[in-house]
Every structure is written in C-alpha cells, then in structure tokens.
Symmetry: C2
C-alpha cells in the first residue's frame, strides 16, 4: 500500500532556509520508494535573509512558504494545515532554516522556542507512533520538543557545540558518519548527519539521506497505523 508522507521545508537555501541538496535528496528517495509526498512550510516571513554568495545579511524580505515553493515546484502548503492523521511519516531536511525559521536555536541555543505548528506536528506524529525522519541540524527541534517528556536519542554528526546543546535540552547524542543513521526506536525518530559534516561530498549526503528515508518508511510500515 502506498505510503503518504509530509516533508516540512523552511525556505530555500542552506544559510537561511532548507538546505537544498538535503531537501532534494529526501524528495528523490521518497519518490524512488513510491511514497506520495506532500510538502509544507510555515506561512510567515523569514527573520532574516542571507546573500548566499557573500554570506552576509541581505535587506530583502522573504516568506518561508513562498521560498520553499522553489524547492517544491509550487507544490507546498501552509504547515498549519498539516495533520498527522493524514500521513504515515514526516521528514525534516536541514539547513539554517531549520534552526532559524522552524525554531530559534541558531539565536538562543538550548533556550530556543519551537514554531507552534512545528511543535504541534511533531507531537502529533510522536503521539500516534508515526516515525519522524530528520537530517543535519533539524534534530535539535526534536531535542527541544521532546526534551520535557524524557528526551530522544539522535545524531548531529560529530560531538560539537550543537550536540552539547541538544544534550542540554535533554537529548542523548550519538556520533555518526555522513552515511550512517541513528534510530531511536521507542520515539520513532531516525536521524542522519548530512551536511553537519560540512565537507562531505554531495553524493554521500544523498546516500545517508537515502538510508534515513528507507528506515523511516520501513518503520512506518511496521509500526504505524495507515494514514
């Protein structure tokens, strides 16, 4: 039976949105495995825009949903309309957008707050025992969201400031290479480092995300109620 999944984007571009290679790799593997994919993003302005050529702040105003539509070829809906009832699993690619637009971890570290719709969606999938697949920096959102309820086990690549912050928020960090995943079975969370290994070649990022996607869909097939 075909699986139906949600992918949560956070803009378009590594420095202020979804990391494009990670988002596209996620979409390719989901398509390859036959999933019916629905993209979502918050319909709010980005707190900042970064010129990706210079790495410096840009004066533009951009909307997260509108920019996410560049990755989704227009096929993206407001995250407010995403309910776990309708999906077998949910995926969060990385990029600074995950840490700036879906929560404010980039500014606040362990004291961050999570976008209300992102928190609601994560809790809905978690409560329904439906798996969550994440890569790169996105697992910090799970660290914060589930930190109060016992914490989750995840990877952010090597030990780092980010992994220490995740542990401060109640998570357990496990190191992983770019082609490895870390699975938290009780919490139905599968994570892979992707560009947390910043010098990783893109085809290895693609391969690691492929592992994450396969394992998340397999978990959805074995544990989840059909959407």
């Amino acid at each position: 039976m075909q699986q139906t999944v949600a992918v949560v984007l956070s803009g378009c571009g590594v420095f202020d949105g979804s990391e494009i290679h990670e988002a596209v790799s996620t979409l390719i593997h989901l398509s390859r495995l036959g999933a019916d994919v629905h993209c979502f993003a918050p319909d709010t302005d980005q707190p900042s825009v970064v010129n990706h050529l210079t790495g410096q702040p840009a004066p533009d105003h951009r909307n997260i949903l509108v920019e996410s539509a560049r990755i989704a070829r227009g096929n993206v809906k407001p995250l407010s309309g995403c309910s776990a009832d309708n999906f077998d699993a949910v995926f969060f690619p990385g990029g600074f957008g995950a840490a700036m637009n879906l929560c404010n971890f980039a500014d606040k570290g362990p004291d961050c707050t999570v976008n209300a719709d992102v928190e609601r969606v994560l809790n809905e999938f978690h409560d329904a025992n439906k798996p969550i697949g994440m890569c790169c920096i996105a697992p910090v959102i799970a660290a914060k969201t589930f930190g109060k309820s016992g914490g989750v086990t995840l990877t952010l690549g090597d030990d780092s400031e980010a992994s220490k912050a995740a542990e401060t928020m109640g998570a357990t960090h496990q190191q992983a290479t770019v082609t490895q995943t870390v699975t938290d079975e009780p919490n139905h969370l599968i994570t892979t480092p992707a560009y947390m290994h910043g010098n990783a070649p893109i085809h290895q990022v693609f391969e690691g995300i492929g592992q994450m996607v396969e394992q998340t869909l397999a978990m959805a097939a074995s544990t989840g109620a059909p959407a």
Copy 2:
C-alpha cells in the same frame, strides 16, 4: 585521472532560475563519478522574479549569480571567468532560467539572443571538442548558438512548440523519454528531457540526468584533451 567540469546555473527555482531538482541531480551524479565540479552563473540581474507559490510575477530584484549561490552553497563564480581551457566538459541544467536568464528564448522564441558569456563558453567547448551536457529546456541555447554552423541534434522530450522552435533555429529534434538521452557525436552534445516531461517523478528525472552525466563524462574521457 579526475575530470574537472563546469556547471552553469541560472538562478534558483524552476520558474525564474535553474530547476533545482535538475541542478542538484547533476551535482550528485558528478560527485558520485568523482568529478571536480565548479559552478558558474552570469553576474547580472534576473529580468524578472516569479513567486513560486502563486506563479505570478514578484516585485523583487534578484541577481542570477547570488541566487545560484543557494544551489551551490556559496561556491559559484561569475560566468565571465569560465574558460573551456580549464575544464573537460560543461553542463547546463534546465528551468525557465535557462530560457530567460541565459538567453531570451522564453520571450523571443527562435528569434532569441544568447547571453554573450554563455555563447562564448559554448563555442569554446565546441571548438575544443569538449562535450556539453544539457537537460530540459537548456538545449534551445545550443540550438540557437550552433544553428548558424550546421545545427545540432538534441531532445526536448516530446514534439512540442519548443522542439518546433529548436528546428526553426536549425536543430534536429529527437523525441526521448525522461530516462533517455540523445547524443550528437560530431558536436559532442548530450541531452535529456528531464522536466520537459512535466509530470515525471523526480527519481526518473534523477535517473535520466544520471545517464546524461555518465555519457558526457565518458565522451570527455574518450575524446577530450585533458583540461
């Protein structure tokens, strides 16, 4: 021996820049095959910006090089600095950017003009017998550039207004499915339709581009002088 290749981007997003899935698929396959990849884009403003959620024109001003940097994670240089002397092959992903920003085919059809640096780069690779790999709508640029010197054989997917226009510019069109390529041996041009088949699933676009990339690198290895 490692091959060194150029990838020419045209912005970031299917409706006014490089088609993101096609550009990323090109980069993944090049990385998988061990190529040393250098991205380029024209350092000029886009003639227009499209809101990818609504499909409507947006009032923004965006620079092609700066937006291309979103796909290239900052690693992109002005196309004016791209010389065929330094590369074994060159690749052009598609998207409306190829037809709006690298030439004005989207506006002018067969009467289009090609960006001067794009035309120079294509002629340099062609004159050096170094292969050119293109997908989606990008082959219309080759149709125009090489139309005066005998024309090239290429694919734009099914027969269409675009393929008729390519033939008006002096090209020979061959139909191809999303996972097929068309090779013009004498002109060292390899093309694949990608999202010219607009409803193709992303993993088939990825597969077709993989064929195009493999064949272009193989041709570079067999015919080209090392860069």
